[in-house]
């Protein structure tokens, strides 16, 4: 089994193979994404009963929580790509790392805005220095650091490795930052402010939430494949396999 995986891993590493592989999977992924989203939204917006405390406003969690999970998940994907870039120097891993940064940043931004929109009905103000929202804000800065550093270096192969190092350093710091902010929040706010816990999760709410989380993950793969294919064409524009593909 392991031998097969190593072979698959190296075959995936070659740009032409990945370009065709991603291209062939895109339509199927789009179908899966639409099915999951429709099911999730229908379950979340229509079937799920209103929350006894927050009424209808809690339905924002079906966007906020999956987006927050995605922002963390994508940073982990970037850090593992970073390790592959530094250890095996795989060109494709650099491209995947660079292409997932903007997607991660958009999910973090989405999580922040929906978090504050959800905060308004609950606490009366748009921005509350809640532990999770503050960590999410710092995570956004980490993403912008990755994107900014990549843009600032002209030589793209060097930029790829620089960003790989930054992503790994960022990954090591995320838990430290998260627990520091958590500790800081408990110190200053005290327990009076209701933490932004998910309301007591009844299965009718949990199922749509998981469906939406899954649909966001599938969406991430779609957007990533799309970006990687565009970037591969740009980077390999004077290589033979691109020529064969478009010479016709």
């Amino acid at each position: 089994m392991f031998k097969w995986f190593v072979k698959w891993f190296h075959r995936m590493g070659s740009p032409p193979h990945f370009y065709r592989f991603a291209g062939s999977w895109l339509p199927w992924l789009t179908v899966v994404f639409t099915v999951l989203t429709v099911a999730g939204l229908y379950g979340g917006l229509v079937l799920a009963p209103p929350d006894y405390q927050q009424g209808e406003s809690y339905r924002i969690i079906f966007i906020h929580v999956p987006a927050a999970w995605m922002s963390m998940f994508i940073y982990m994907v970037m850090a593992s790509c970073g390790i592959i870039v530094l250890v095996w120097r795989m060109k494709l891993a650099e491209v995947v790392l660079i292409c997932s940064a903007p997607i991660g940043a958009s999910f973090t931004f989405l999580a922040l805005v929906t978090g504050s929109l959800w905060g308004k009905p609950m606490w009366g103000t748009y921005w509350v220095w809640d532990a999770r929202l503050t960590s999410e804000l710092i995570l956004l800065f980490l993403y912008l650091g990755v994107i900014g550093l990549y843009g600032a270096i002209d030589e793209k192969r060097v930029a790829g490795r620089a960003v790989a190092i930054l992503a790994i350093v960022g990954m090591i710091n995320i838990p430290i930052i998260h627990y520091s902010v958590e500790w800081w929040n408990s110190l200053h706010q005290g327990a009076t402010v209701t933490k932004m816990d998910k309301p007591s999760i009844h299965w009718t709410m949990l199922v749509p939430l998981l469906l939406m989380a899954l649909s966001f993950k599938v969406y991430f793969i779609i957007s990533l494949f799309q970006r990687v294919r565009a970037e591969l064409l740009h980077r390999e524009r004077n290589s033979r396999w691109v020529e064969e593909l478009f010479r016709s």
Binding site: G145, A152, V158, S180, V181
Partner: protein
């Protein structure tokens, strides 16, 4: 003749950097002046009302210390990058992380440590409670090396860039957050007479983590930005 042992090379590089810093002494004062200047701005901005200033003193002192140390980061590798000695250091027979640690220690001794001299004066100006002076000095003693160590990673990543300065702050400030949180809360708690051992032990943990991991990351980043 055998090459120098690792510790000899470490001390040699450290002494050379201190000698260089001493040679242009005028630059050594800049972080200190910046530190004092930023802190004097706050009473002008928010009024000199004593107990308000005393309450926010830990926070201002540490934000100012953080900005002062970040502004002086550029000096670690910039001059060596320009005159080619950085290349020679990467090509030396000694492991690069240890040489990087020597350079960062020299940078800390020149820019981070002197903040200790001025901090009590500023704390007095802001009317910080006397019990907190000891903890204030301790947090600066433990915190500024972590700032230099983490900052050296950001500097190594941006040393090759023409306009590296702006990106440097975007890369480095988020990583400074844990140090900022624990140091200012240590002083705050000490000011109200409570023991700050929890915060101090966390800062010690940060120091050892940074001491062991960041030179390796900085060495990798330097090799990468020189290629």
């Amino acid at each position: 003749m055998k090459r120098l042992s690792l510790s000899q090379a470490f001390w040699f590089l450290l002494r050379r950097d201190l000698l260089l810093a001493f040679r242009n002494r005028s630059e050594m004062a800049n972080p200190l002046l910046f530190f004092v200047l930023v802190i004097t701005l706050f009473p002008l901005a928010i009024g000199a009302e004593p107990n308000l200033l005393a309450r926010i003193a830990p926070g201002i002192i540490w934000v100012a210390a953080l900005l002062a140390s970040m502004l002086s980061l550029d000096g670690i590798f910039r001059s060596d990058f320009d005159d080619g000695t950085l290349e020679q250091m990467l090509l030396s027979a000694h492991p690069v992380p240890v040489l990087v640690l020597a350079k960062v220690t020299a940078h800390w001794l020149v820019t981070g440590l002197p903040l200790l001299l001025v901090a009590p004066l500023l704390a007095m100006m802001l009317g910080l409670d006397e019990d907190a002076y000891g903890i204030l000095l301790l947090t600066i003693l433990l915190g500024t090396p972590v700032l230099s160590l983490i900052g050296s990673i950001g500097v190594a990543l941006t040393v090759g860039l023409r306009k590296g300065g702006i990106i440097l702050s975007l890369l480095v400030l988020p990583l400074y957050v844990p140090v900022l949180i624990f140091s200012s809360s240590a002083i705050d708690v000490a000011a109200s007479g409570l023991p700050a051992t929890a915060q101090i032990s966390m800062m010690l943990a940060f120091l050892f983590l940074a001491l062991s991991l960041s030179p390796v990351a900085t060495a990798a980043a330097l090799k990468m930005s020189m290629s």
